[in-house]
Symmetry: C2
Subunit: 589 residues, 2 copies
């Protein structure tokens, strides 16, 4: 069972039969057709030669099939990770250079190692630091940057830049060099692809196709554009008229590569590799979980770290670059009927065949067409409605999202992620340090206690009950001290304070020390401290400290019992007109 957990391949190969094989082969065929232009396009986006995209779509898929827990996830190059690779490798060498390609390999290795370590140490929870608004904002902003970065290929000019202002500036500067034949091809391809996305499926369905095959056929739109535009380029001699094409791609198996062992380079790329890994992991797991739920299957996020880590290590040793699970591709794989990760292995086989035999056919593919497929793919990532929804729902979350978007657009992808994470965490800590608490009183005629601000309740001027609505931790320990002591400073009649702990799931050492301080300070002010409705595990733990021995009041099972008993106590004190010194009461002087 343990081996099954760490090698999911042992589980799904057990019942593997001919039906499953057929399903997986069909799905693999469809995904391969979709993946060929995507691989070339994303490699180009990452500033790498096109064949590297194909190589990254082989061994990593096999590694994922061995270690992955999703039956439908299709890994390989994806847009956002390609952009992050461009930025990170671009910080150490010019895109396209040998050093740049070497840096991309190192990124894949580091990213793989980071994911493997996170998986082995069960550190997947660190991905939680990326809140949904931050991830959404980052993906949107990346989509915008990617779309602008591809405009140059549509215009047939050269431009570059990691931030939107620089990109736009270089684009505008190069506008006089616009190459019109390229613009025509690029625009036509873009328009066709948009139409395929929106209009082809309904058309096919009106023509009598069922929804699913119509959908899958529509997904094959890019390969049609690739085929038609390549033929047009050859037939019309467009290459000679200055239309840039992919050029000759070596016909080869994925090569065996050894990533550079260069400690300085590793250090320079460590942080980008970490960000890229975590973003890739978060996106991939979310896709895997969505698809798994449709068949009541299970995803183990810690094992996914291992699987994606292995996939990236595999990429590093086979001439690839960082990969992760792709959304569109996985959905196609699922819809086409993939039953097991074997579909991934067959897809890898399809790509190997393409790399060996089909690459000569792709030499005349216009780069503008690849740019068009990227633009159409990433613009679907830009979803302004999402931003509006978050604005309506929560202003702090909107602030985190907008900071991520602005930082990504204006300062680059890495700054964007860091800014978003930092702001989310700061807002979280700010809220965690001000938990909700209420002064409560008894609802007349019942045993219920409710907020005095919202309900007509009975209170006693000598007794204050504070209901705390959060666990007590070091983040809110000082707040608790201030909150309680202010009540006391405000109220000279006060003799007993009850902390109602019904919502307190834990009390850490800092909060314990604060409770001790509160107990001491209240005693100095002549006020006894009581606790009510303390949960079992919390009281067990308090018994391991000296707090309960020093407590000037008592611990009561229910708030109702506490209020009744403390009222009697206060009555007796009022009658005798003697307020006992809480210190004396506990023999502490």
């Amino acid at each position: 069972m343990r081996a099954d957990r760490y090698l999911p391949i042992l589980e799904w190969t057990r019942g593997y039969d001919r039906t499953t094989l057929t399903s997986d082969l069909v799905a693999a065929g469809i995904v391969t057709i979709m993946l060929i232009p995507q691989s070339l396009a994303y490699a180009m986006l990452a500033g790498l030669p096109p064949e590297i995209g194909l190589y990254a779509s082989t061994a990593p898929l096999v590694a994922y099939a061995v270690f992955g827990t999703s039956r439908s996830l299709a890994v390989g190059p994806v847009a956002v990770i390609s952009l992050m690779t461009l930025t990170a490798a671009g910080s150490v060498a010019p895109p396209g250079s040998g050093e740049f390609i070497a840096a991309a390999l190192v990124l894949a290795l580091l990213s793989g190692a980071i994911l493997l370590v996170m998986g082995a140490l069960r550190l997947g929870f660190l991905a939680n630091l990326l809140s949904h608004p931050v991830v959404s904002g980052f993906i949107m902003a990346s989509g915008i940057i990617i779309a602008f970065s591809q405009l140059k290929s549509i215009l047939g000019v050269s431009a570059s830049g990691e931030t939107l202002p620089v990109l736009i500036k270089t684009l505008v500067g190069s506008l006089p060099a616009t190459h019109w034949p390229t613009v025509i091809i690029g625009t036509a391809a873009t328009a066709f692809l948009f139409w395929v996305r929106r209009g082809l499926k309904p058309l096919l369905m009106r023509a009598g196709l069922a929804a699913r095959p119509a959908d899958l056929l529509a997904k094959a739109g890019p390969i049609a554009v690739v085929a038609v535009s390549t033929m047009a380029t050859v037939l019309l001699g467009l290459e000679e008229r200055g239309v840039k094409v992919v050029g000759s791609i070596p016909q080869s198996l994925p090569p065996f590569t050894l990533p550079l062992f260069d400690v300085d380079l590793w250090r320079q790329l460590a942080v980008p590799a970490l960000l890229l890994s975590v973003i890739g992991f978060v996106e991939s797991v979310s896709v895997a979980q969505t698809l798994a739920a449709k068949k009541r299957q299970r995803i183990d996020p810690d094992q996914e770290l291992i699987a994606l880590g292995s996939a990236n290590v595999a990429a590093a040793f086979t001439g690839g670059y960082p990969v992760t699970g792709g959304f569109a591709r996985s959905v196609v794989n699922f819809d086409a009927g993939a039953e097991t990760p074997a579909a991934g292995v067959f897809t890898a086989g399809g790509i190997v065949i393409a790399a060996l035999f089909l690459t000569p056919l792709l030499a005349s593919l216009p780069i503008a067409v690849l740019a068009a497929t990227i633009i159409v793919a990433v613009l679907s990532l830009v979803d302004p409605k999402k931003a509006v929804e978050i604005w309506r729902y929560s202003r702090p979350d909107f602030a985190a999202m907008m900071s991520t978007i602005l930082a990504t657009l204006l300062a680059g992808v890495e700054s964007g992620v860091v800014a978003g994470v930092a702001l989310s965490l700061a807002l979280y800590l700010w809220r965690a340090s001000r938990p909700h608490a209420a002064i409560v009183g008894r609802v007349p005629g019942t045993e219920h206690f409710r907020n005095v601000k919202r309900h007509k309740v009975f209170t006693d001027p000598r007794i204050v009950t504070v209901r705390i609505d959060e666990s007590l931790t070091y983040l809110n320990a000082r707040w608790l001290e201030e909150f309680v002591l202010e009540r006391v400073a405000d109220d000279p009649q006060l003799k007993h304070l009850i902390l109602m702990c019904s919502a307190v799931n834990a009390i850490d050492a800092s909060a314990l020390e604060s409770l001790e301080a509160i107990n001491h300070r209240l005693a100095d002010a002549g006020v006894s401290l009581h606790l009510s409705e303390v949960k079992g595990p919390v009281i067990d733990r308090l018994e391991r400290s000296n707090f309960l021995q020093g407590l000037t009041g008592k611990v009561w099972l229910s708030q109702n019992a506490a209020f009744d008993a403390v009222t009697v106590l206060a009555d007796r004190e009022t009658e005798t007109n003697i307020t006992p010194d809480p210190w004396l009461a506990r023999g502490l002087i």
Copy 2:
């Protein structure tokens, strides 16, 4: 009232009369006597000329009196902040040099500016990041380093080092140079001061003194040692025998100084200044709150930031170095009867008189005696019992404490604080990402629902109720998805899932998106999602999103109503043997 809030001096000067004046003057006299040797000693500990300690005990006290909210806090140089000053300024110049003194001034200015900004922006909550175990560990480790750093003066040798191993190594290496007359003076002073701490008060009480004057008299022990040892040095001509003395201190008012405006230096000192400010603030507020509570007075932590910030800015312009509220000193001030911050102003006056007229008397004071006063003061900070208590109470808190101690001892004070804060935060986030949740069932014959693992309760195989015991935030949103989807994957009979939200105080945008994902994925698996006991503010907010429209189940006021109604629903589905597609039920297909 607003002016009162930002200038507490307006409040306490209003009813100021002769009785208050007398109390404040008496307290100021006693604190001044205590403060003279302390100021000299802590300046020496910080690597600064002795007069700088005196200067730092003048203007900052007046600034605090204007802006501070504590009636009893006594600000000035303290041990831990002096050590941090030595480390920080020592990183840019050798201790004692002109550049070093300039760096200490800059530290005071930066620290003041940071505190003022934190106060103005109400960022006091950032101090919460320092958990009690981290602060305790840091103070203990600092105490150990300080004690070892002063051993050199007791032995009459020179040694230095910011970490314990280096300190011990240089101390051991310089042992052959031990100066025996110095050792005798230093040891005698240390032994006497320890005895004063433990034995003098009982002795005075047995001699008939009341507890409080006996205590105050015992606190004056250091000044007696200073007087006796200075006289002995003069009479026995010890200086000529090689006993190092304080030497001539300029007779002067605190000078007006302008801290260097050097951006590079500011950048180098920014992080140390931040750490020093926050540590100083946390310690100071804790002392102020303890004393305020004894008289039911109130401390405003945000205003304290302003007050301590002003005190440090004042120090920067009057030849001082970073200051904060001191524990022992404030307790003496309180016990001696200080009624208002005017006592601080009078203390400052006393120190000015000392700086003008008494400094010649201190020229022959042996440095070993100052070292003895420091050692005796800081060893009370080292409290191994505290560590044992934390170990017993909470292992994660103990881990945070020990990391802080070890990092401080082995890598220096700044690394210590950073390590402690980082580990506490990581542990907190880890716990926050795995909140408590329970599958609950109905206690037979009641309307109560309890954990199925702890109670004999009734459940229905078609219905699972998950009670979530925390607010839903981005830190636990993914955990929630995994937790819920695992239940579904485990249980093919399941048709309805109820989330019981009685302990959910808030749902942020990430958690909302996760709830939407859960709703979709459950629908794909043929399971309806219901919510029960959702709090008012939470439901109000959910209504601002599209979540409730898409919800496949319903929102129920009570868990009891939810369970009854969903059981009826499930019965109907079982009878008709038709499981409605939850998507269809909501018109979503």
